[in-house]
Symmetry: C2
Subunit: 100 residues, 2 copies
DNA sequence: AATGTATATCGACTTTTCCCGATATGCCAA
DNA sequence: TTGGCATATCGGGAAAAGTCGATATACATT
């Protein structure tokens, strides 16, 4: 886990918001069809709509968060679903408490 | 504590290093004269020398860290001493565990 | 095979960050 | 009060991040 990379990923209001939305997908994305939040998460399009930013920006943001190991993706057909990677958050907590 | 601001402050290798140095000042700054690390911390010049970056850059970095509430400063004569603000780190830990 | 939909990638432009050197400010000593 | 340090601030140039629209890719449906 690259420290600078993870903090950069967290240095943006929209990306922080996305992480927060993904904490309770059923609440924040009630319109996702065939929702299977536990297993796969939320698809890009839903996040994009809710964010109000462009499709390309959100796609980019999601890969930044993924490179930082804060979320995971699963491709199902033409959709890519993203969900939080709680192991990454645990590692981040340890980093803050022990290394910073 | 502004979330984006604190993560931006942490998004830089040199600034992370400074925070780490300030964890054990006696080890990292053995040459500081009249060291009173517990009370005031380490002065700008010592940090600047150790970092290898310019004086203006380090002064700037220290105020970024201070605005993020991660360090405190004390002015004594012509020196400004900086030390870690452990309350800020505690708050950051809480942020990660509870809000992110 | 052709079309439609979801996502990723590309190219461009703007804003922010990274650093520097030069200058200003504040404090101390002669 | 003049000169010398320590630090802060200013102005700028280069690199990175933010954000978009356009295009490419990948899959699904007809």
């Amino acid at each position: 886990m690259d420290q600078v990379e993870v903090f950069k990923a967290l240095s943006n209001k929209t990306r922080l918001q996305i992480l927060n939305w993904l904490k309770s997908p059923a609440t924040h994305f009630p319109d996702q069809p065939n929702a299977d939040f536990e297993n796969v998460g939320v698809c890009v399009g839903q996040i994009q709509i809710k964010s109000g930013l462009s499709q390309s920006t959100i796609s980019e943001y999601l890969s930044i968060l993924q490179r930082a190991e804060l979320i995971n993706s699963t491709r199902v057909g033409q959709w890519t679903y993203y969900k939080r990677n709680e192991e990454g958050f645990a590692e981040l907590g340890k980093l803050i408490n022990q290394e910073l």
